[in-house]
């Protein structure tokens, strides 16, 4: 990045002032994911002026965009060339940015099939807590020069620095896509999806909710057609299927909404990340299962301890996504991992000005 860029220069100045005043900054983009993580604190640092696609070479399968670039603009530019962000980052609301996508590190329905946002980040330019501009990784898919800091930044919720620019691996949109639907209970769906995972099938996404399993196939036309024949089920009309997967991706589906009434009942929305083959979880409330069984959303009145224990027993962890109170959103870390986290915070942001407490208290 060019340090003489006006928007970047202004960000650097803001960070320098915050440093001298020891005043925390709350790094903001479109504000579409402010509900996620511990409560934001500090003076807003708006990265949206730092906007625009810096380079895009479809034949390289790489796009580089500045942090404030609207996600919608990026996805539109890719779509024009028949490409996409294959990990389907959830948007939640209009206005999200590339920086926010990387900082939150959340991936959509296709994650189990194609990998996560972390898997697709190739490089990041970061403004650290010493007001230095640093670039890690690059624009090539194979790169092991130095530690993989760009991927450490993914999902860091801004606690290590301001993401200024990111390079992402992109992929061609699949030639063919079909969605199959099965009226199956949870047990049968989990078992079958696990069995399918051991076979060479072009499964791109799965979702189970309220007695219905949906399976999205994506790939070469012949492969998708052959898989449709083999798996059976009911084939969904493509427009309706597309809209439905979007509602899962962006949490606009009814299951994910947590209105006044549900909140009043004490419900919270949890994300349980567990091994895909984990047995059915028994919590009070309603469940939505994705990623071949590896991501299980629960809308439940169970206490955080009960939810966490259920996740841990299965070999996973639980994150509070939406609820009345935001306390200990993320599963607690072991003492040794917390020490490493503190060491990394110290290394990147010694004055602790960036998004303090957003990931864990004290960081």
């Amino acid at each position: 990045m060019d340090a003489h860029d006006a928007a970047l220069a202004r960000l650097i100045d803001q960070v320098k002032s915050a440093l001298s005043a020891r005043a925390p900054l709350d790094i903001c983009g479109g504000g579409t994911k402010r509900f996620y993580g511990e409560a934001p604190a500090g003076a807003p640092l708006d990265v949206r002026p730092l906007s625009g696609i810096t380079s895009y070479e479809p034949t390289e399968l790489v796009v580089t965009a500045r942090a404030g670039t609207p996600l919608r603009d990026l996805e539109a530019a890719l779509a024009e060339r028949g490409q996409c962000l294959p990990f389907e980052p959830p948007r939640f609301a209009p206005g999200g940015t590339v920086g926010g996508m990387v900082a939150a590190g959340l991936s959509g329905p296709a994650r189990a099939g194609v990998g996560s946002v972390r898997d697709h980040v190739l490089g990041v330019t970061l403004l650290n807590g010493r007001a230095e501009i640093l670039t890690f990784g690059g624009q090539v898919t194979k790169n092991v020069a130095g530690y993989d800091v760009s991927r450490l930044i993914v999902g860091s919720l801004g606690i290590l620095g301001v993401i200024c620019e990111a390079s992402l691996k992109v992929l061609p949109v699949s030639v063919a896509t079909e969605t199959l639907s099965f009226e199956w209970d949870e047990g049968r769906s989990l078992d079958t999806v696990s069995r399918w995972a051991t076979q060479p099938l072009p499964i791109n996404a799965t979702a189970w909710h309220a007695g219905r399993l949906s399976v999205r196939l994506a790939g070469a036309r012949a492969a998708v057609e052959a898989a449709c024949q083999r798996l059976g089920g009911e084939r969904l009309e493509s427009g309706a299927a597309h809209a439905w997967w979007l509602s899962v991706r962006d949490h606009s589906a009814e299951f994910f909404s947590l209105g006044e009434e549900r909140l009043a009942r004490g419900e919270a929305l949890w994300r349980l990340s567990v091994p895909s083959v984990a047995a059915a979880l028994a919590l009070p409330g309603e469940q939505f299962i994705e990623w071949g069984g590896a991501q299980r959303w629960w809308r439940t009145t169970a206490t955080p301890d009960v939810v966490r224990e259920a996740a841990a027993r299965s070999g996973g962890h639980a994150t509070l996504i939406r609820g009345k109170d935001r306390v200990e959103v993320f599963a607690p870390l072991s003492a040794v991992l917390m020490r490493v986290h503190q060491g990394l915070k110290q290394a990147f942001d010694p004055a602790r000005i960036f998004n303090p407490g957003r990931l864990y208290a004290g960081l």
């Binding site: 640093l134 090539v140 993989d148 800091v149 051991t198 076979q199 290394a347």
Partner: protein
């Protein structure tokens, strides 16, 4: 190679001898005597990894068999402030496992237990398990472990984690990073630790990402949970010949531009195919200036559809000859040449130095031309084999290490390739790691502040800098002495200043 850079018998330094006696005595409290090597003749096999030009005699080598022993060794070394260099099969090409003169080599070769869980498509492999052994054990279940570095018959999964190893199928299936769920091991002080989880993610910062590829500098890996994927029902490979390097390079970009992600996409130049053919008879077109190997895998329907598309794109890009593998035997024959490129180069030259930079695919032809000019400039031959699909180059510079001047020219040639790669928007190492070999080139790719940030990461895990010290991150002093300017994406700092 035969060059010896730093082999000093222990007796040469009285203080080192005393230190050695103290460390051996402390280790003897927790290890059987046979698991501690310290006599020069016993430690000699550990003096180098596959980068044999760099050798250092380790003070002590330990061969633990249990996790408890590893923890105890690390506790002792931490308490006595002894550097520790973890080591797997020693197949690394960048000197990542080069011992420390006053340190302990922690050989983890005995950690070779492997458990395949076909139901969850995972395997739990101790760090000393060989890469290929995982796929072999998973094969009866129709599964395999995707990353396949050329050294896969010998290299270990622990080493793969340290280097974030790739292979010929990364374009479609990713690197080690994309295929590992969890790493278990120990912090420098012997405390047990886990990065990642059995699930697809773990809470907090993504420490698994930074541990993978950290060249043994952040923690000691003893067990790795890897993802297994269903073995494709069919794979077929196209060998396409090109009469000039430029069109071969352009063909690579064209395949990707058509929305095709081949399972493998490799390029070899004429000098390389000649060397390889003499070594294994891979049926290559020896008249072509360059050949591409382009593989499709999946269901039979998928492969047929993709091979047809690949053929037409390659023809359009000017391929002078196209041959599609008839059967599995011929496909493996095509690959046998590629996989034997390194040993074949050993057959035509006393020594070779393998480079590993990555550049954007569209700069391939430009890079090859630059290398041709360097061959003249340094009066050395270079044969080229590329993971073209992901822009990862392995030029092999041929030289004779017995000839000091050739050795010196070879090092300059190598540095020139790496600096050119950075200038073309690439990186100095795609998959072999920095180790000790590319320390100088790190000065070119990263600014002082970036290198300082790497050191900060190192200290967050290992405050006393005892794990594999001296690797990956060059000191400020070293960079100053190397005297090369830091370049980024073709931009020198202070572009307005004249340079000669």
């Amino acid at each position: 190679m035969h060059t010896v850079k730093d082999t000093e018998p222990a007796a040469a330094h009285p203080s080192r001898t005393m230190r050695q006696a103290d460390v051996v005595a402390a280790l003897a409290e927790v290890l059987p005597r046979a698991a501690i090597l310290f006599r020069h003749e016993d430690t000699a096999p550990f003096e180098c990894d596959a980068l044999t030009a760099y050798r250092t005699s380790p003070m002590v080598v330990v061969l633990p068999e249990t996790h408890a022993q590893v923890a105890a060794i690390l506790k002792i070394c931490h308490k006595m402030a002894v550097p520790v260099v973890a080591r797997g099969a020693g197949t690394g090409l960048s000197g990542g496992a080069t011992p420390h003169h006053t340190g302990v080599v922690l050989s983890l070769a005995k950690f070779n237990k492997l458990k395949i869980d076909p139901a969850s498509c995972t395997a739990i492999a101790q760090c000393g398990v060989r890469n290929l052994a995982i796929s072999e054990a998973a094969a009866p279940h129709g599964l395999y472990y995707a990353p396949d570095p050329s050294s896969q018959i010998a290299c270990t999964i622990g080493g793969n984690v340290a280097e974030n190893s790739g292979g010929v199928h990364c374009l479609k299936y990713g690197l080690t990073l994309h295929n590992v769920l969890k790493v278990r091991g120990f912090m420098v002080d012997g405390e047990p630790v886990e990065f990642g989880s059995q699930a697809l993610d773990a809470p907090g910062l993504d420490l698994l990402s930074i541990v993978i590829g950290s060249e043994g500098m952040l923690a000691v890996t003893t067990e790795v949970t890897v993802k297994l994927i269903p073995k494709p029902l069919l794979a077929r490979c196209i060998m396409a010949s090109f009469s000039d390097i430029e069109s071969a390079g352009a063909a690579v970009a064209s395949v990707i531009a058509h929305g095709i992600i081949p399972a493998g996409l490799e390029m070899m130049d004429k000098a390389m195919t000649a060397a390889v053919d003499a070594f294994v008879h891979a049926d290559y077109d020896l008249t072509a200036a360059a050949i591409l190997l382009c593989e499709s895998d999946g269901t039979p329907e998928e492969v047929e559809e993709e091979i047809t598309r690949m053929e037409s794109v390659l023809k359009e890009a000017g391929a002078s000859r196209i041959e599609v593998s008839r059967d599995e035997a011929q496909r493996l024959k095509f690959w046998s040449g590629r996989k034997n490129a390194f040993p074949a180069s050993g057959g035509i030259s006393p020594d070779y130095m393998c480079m590993d930079s990555t550049i954007p695919r569209k700069r391939l032809a430009e890079m090859l031309r630059a290398i041709q000019q360097m061959e003249v400039k340094y009066s050395l031959r270079c044969v080229n084999v590329f993971h073209a699909g992901d822009g990862n180059l392995h030029p092999l510079i041929l030289f004779d290490a017995e000839d000091a001047d050739e050795m010196r020219r070879c090092e300059k040639f190598g540095a020139d390739i790496l600096e050119t790669s950075v200038r073309l928007g690439g990186t100095v190492t795609g998959e072999h790691g920095v180790g000790v070999e590319k320390l100088n080139s790190m000065c070119v790719q990263f600014s002082e502040a970036e290198r300082e940030q790497f050191l900060g990461v190192k200290r967050a895990f290992d405050p006393l800098e005892l794990l594999n010290p001296g690797k990956v991150i060059p000191t400020l002093h070293r960079c100053a002495e190397y005297g090369k300017m830091h370049v980024r994406r073709g931009m020198l700092p202070f572009p307005e200043l004249p340079r000669f």
